[in-house]
């Protein structure tokens, strides 16, 4: 195949560029999904379905951006983002644990409210003027590894990416190797069992929802402060829902969550790379951009069908006969 040979010679540097880009960006794309899904894993394991993840991320992204700009500090931005997520988690907990409101309605309600209120907030704070600039953030180099060709990008990431990766084993250990985790999982299996074992079901679910909020908040802060450097209307673009899907097809195991997030990140980077480098010109851009979402649906269909959902998921608890 003479023609093939010529083509490969021609494309070689482009393919190298493409792969370099892919490895560099897949972790960055995976991080917000990973952070949110780690939190959701705890929430769902404890029997609380937080469909408000999208809204939590979006609100936190907005709050983190405003705080980061105002204080001229990324760290303060991140802290405010996390705090915002925790606050929403607390409100959700009050609604679904104390008032026993329907978890699906509350979650979706928060998502819808977040889109409108953050867009409004953006215009109230900055009017229609140009958005202010954030202070610069530097990527953290893992010294020798980051200079490896092609995959070196994996080791040249923003700090929060490393944080997310390090949280994975911690979350796994916490859920499957500690008494605390056993109690959390018991809440999702049968809260009555936890109750009779002296676990304060309400307090635990409050704590867990605050944790869920903190993680979604961190993910939101990452989106506006690290991934891009501004806030845009509805900038989460369904990542909260994807995180919920990832949680399910990872079967509530943080290690699987990491793998699934990485696959999603890969799909998103692939879409970005194909678009940027102008591969597959015959295929419309929109089709390429569908990749991560198709991946999510395929993952759900393939894996989540067989998943065993925590029996007490989305059921409010009350003592009864």
């Amino acid at each position: 195949m003479e023609e093939g040979k010529g083509l490969s010679e021609l494309l070689d540097p482009i393919i190298i560029m493409f792969l370099t880009f892919l490895f560099g960006s897949m972790l960055r794309s995976a991080t917000p999904i990973l952070l949110t899904a780690l939190g959701e894993t705890y929430g769902e394991s404890a029997g609380v379905l937080n469909l408000g993840a999208e809204g939590m991320m979006l609100t936190a992204a907005f709050a983190a951006f405003v705080a980061g700009v105002t204080a001229n500090s990324v760290l303060i931005g991140v802290l405010v983002g996390v705090g915002t997520g925790m606050l929403i988690g607390l409100i959700v907990a009050f609604l679904v644990v104390t008032l026993r409101a329907d978890q699906i309605v509350v979650g979706v309600g928060f998502d819808v409210a977040a889109v409108g209120s953050t867009s409004l907030g953006l215009r109230v704070v900055y009017g229609t003027a140009q958005l202010p600039l954030l202070p610069p953030r530097e990527a953290v180099n893992v010294a020798p590894l980051s200079s490896i060709p092609i995959i070196g990008g994996l080791f040249n990431q923003p700090a929060l990416v490393y944080v997310a990766i390090l949280l994975t084993p911690i979350f796994y250990y916490g859920l499957y190797r500690t008494r605390f985790g056993l109690k959390v999982r018991t809440l999702g299996e049968n809260p009555m069992v936890a109750d009779t074992a002296g676990v304060n079901v309400f307090l635990f679910r409050y704590m867990i929802l605050v944790l869920v909020g903190a993680m979604a908040g961190l993910a939101g802060a990452y989106l506006s402060l690290y991934q891009v450097s501004f806030f845009r209307d509805n900038m989460t673009q369904g990542r909260g829902f994807i995180a919920i899907a990832v949680t399910m097809f990872a079967r509530w195991n943080p290690v699987n969550v990491f793998v699934a997030s990485l696959l999603y990140g890969g799909a998103e980077s692939l879409a970005g790379g194909v678009q940027a480098l102008g591969f597959l010109r015959t295929v419309p851009n929109e089709v390429v951009l569908m990749l991560p979402y198709i991946f999510t649906i395929a993952g759900l269909v393939a894996l989540a069908r067989r998943a065993r959902i925590p029996p007490a998921l989305a059921r409010p608890y009350r003592r009864e006969l």
Partner: protein, 518 residues
């Protein structure tokens, strides 16, 4: 600390109200150290409520509780745990997906019991089990254990939490006769170690056999406490329980078994997990016959009932009605062919909690006249019929438009029975028809079943209650591990024989069973 106290527990004037009922009315109860105290009463007498209050699951509206002669406030199961009160719930409080060790571990920290690591705990569990006279694999997932084993795990769990006061809620209701003996031995050895036991039951014989004292509750009120030594006759207790004497079900009816109506030939069926649940089952039912299926729960009874009702497909074999195969019927067609099914899962499979009495009543028949009128359902007719049944069966409900959820367990069961019998079925499959019901309702349903058989219906009575099987059946079939291992006409079967067959001790009674088989 245990020895010095006069009472392990004492309550004064415990009152608990639920919407519409007073579950406990000013109950004084006391439990001595090392005592086995029976708490006896019909369903709804308030036994579970009282014990749930002691276990911290409910808060009393009024009254005081003293533990080891000290006034205490028990606000939650956590408080009860710390006071050394442990409850073995009727529907166990175990997580099926966790292994034994994990289930035991849960709550140990709250009770102030510490363990070094899981391995140590596992060894301790095995050791404790041996001391109590049984073995358990600490690493087995609870879902893989039999009900009897699960109960032992539940007891171990309570012991590991350091409970000195143990409440057992109807512990024998889920066990086979052989397992009950083992449980009694376990409880007696616990009591001899100085632990105090509250033993809840509605089975009089058990309470008499086994308890030091018996407290009888009726409609939320304590009728009295009897010490076994001063008890004159069982009749006395029965009167305390029911107020007036209740005759045991009389099944003396003229036996008129007619022609064959249903025959199963070499039926094989799988359970939900894809395991073989029925193996080569052959049965012949005759007009007017009551065939009791005796067996320990989980030996294929449920699958047998579902195979007959065409809910579960056959893997092999066939079922004939009037000589014609009904293979390929769906449940609705099977119902139309005359097979009615009283499921043991009253509100899961039998009735819909959020529909009205009338809606539940026509659930199986609305497709056909008289309830179908053209394209719509004739609700006027349905409600009239339902109203009629409410009267006939003495169902306590405001009317045909009451939501099923608002009915008590016994009345829901009456509704289910009423619906299934209303079509005058040829075959009636009744699975645990009186499970969890009080004596009056049980007796009423027994009457209905006998009445139905006298009118020519062939009844398949599946029950865990041997008394029930013996009282009603013309023929007793024993099911064990998916096989019918004995078919005994009434009069030829002794309780001991059937009980042995039920647990697979075939040798002793094998001969007798063989003699009458076919």
């Amino acid at each position: 600390m245990l020895d010095k106290a006069e009472h392990a527990i004492r309550t004064v004037g415990i009152t608990k109200r639920f919407p519409g009922v007073v579950a406990n009315r000013s109950i004084d109860f006391d439990l001595m150290p090392g005592e086995i105290h029976g708490l006896l009463g019909e369903n709804g007498a308030g036994k579970t409520t009282l014990s749930s209050i002691l276990a911290g699951y409910y808060h009393p509206d009024e009254g005081e509780i003293y533990v080891r002669d000290k006034f205490v406030r028990i606000r939650s199961p956590r408080d009860a745990l710390k006071l050394g009160i442990g409850m073995v719930y009727q529907h166990f409080s175990l997580v099926p997906r966790f292994n034994v060790v994990e289930n035991v571990l849960l709550g140990l920290d709250v009770a102030g019991q510490d363990v070094k690591d899981l391995k140590t705990l596992a060894n301790a569990i095995s050791q404790r089990a041996t001391e109590l006279g049984f073995t358990i694999d600490p690493w087995a997932e609870v879902s893989e254990l039999s009900v009897g084993e699960q109960q032992r795990v539940e007891i171990l769990k309570v012991l590991f939490r350091g409970a000195s006061i143990i409440i057992l809620d109807e512990p024998t209701s889920v066990l086979a006769p052989v397992e009950v003996e083992g449980l009694f031995r376990t409880i007696k050895s616990l009591a001899s170690q100085g632990r105090s036991i509250v033993f809840i039951t509605h089975k009089l014989v058990e309470a008499l056999e086994f308890c030091d004292r018996i407290t009888v509750l009726r409609s939320g009120v304590k009728v009295g406490t009897l010490s076994k030594s001063r008890l004159k006759s069982a009749r006395e207790v029965v009167q305390m329980m029911f107020g007036a004497e209740i005759e045991p079900t009389t099944a003396k009816r003229v036996q008129q078994v007619g022609e064959e109506v249903l025959r199963a030939e070499g039926v094989f069926v799988e359970n939900d997990l894809g395991h073989e649940a029925l193996r080569n089952v052959s049965l012949t039912l005759h007009k007017g016959e009551i065939m009791g299926i005796a067996g320990v729960e989980g030996n294929g009874q449920k699958e047998l009932a579902e195979a007959l009702a065409a809910i579960r497909p056959l893997k092999a074999g066939r079922i004939l009605m009037g000589g014609r195969s009904v293979l390929g019927s769906n449940p609705a067609q099977q119902y139309d062919l005359g097979v009615a099914y009283i499921t043991d899962d009253r509100v899961g499979e039998g009735l819909v909690r959020d529909l009205t009495v009338a809606e539940n009543f026509v659930l199986k028949s609305f497709r056909k006249p008289p309830y179908r009128k053209g394209l719509i359902i004739d609700w006027r007719r349905a409600e009239k019929e339902a109203d009629h049944l409410i009267d006939e069966y003495a169902i306590v409900a405001r009317g045909p438009r009451s939501i099923a959820r608002t009915l008590s367990g016994g009345n829901l069961q009456k509704l289910l029975v009423a619906r299934e019998l209303s079509r005058r079925p040829i075959v009636l499959v009744a699975s645990q028809p009186t499970h969890g019901l009080d004596a009056r309702t049980t007796q009423y349903i027994h009457q209905k079943l006998v009445e139905q058989a006298s009118q020519g219906t062939a009844v398949v009575l599946i029950s865990n209650d041997l008394d029930e099987v013996f009282a009603l059946s013309d023929t007793i079939a024993v099911i064990y591990r998916g096989e019918i291992i004995g078919l005994l006409p009434r009069g030829h079967a002794t309780r001991e024989q059937v009980a042995h067959l039920m647990v697979g001790l075939q040798e002793e009674s094998g001969k007798a069973a063989e003699l009458v088989q076919k």
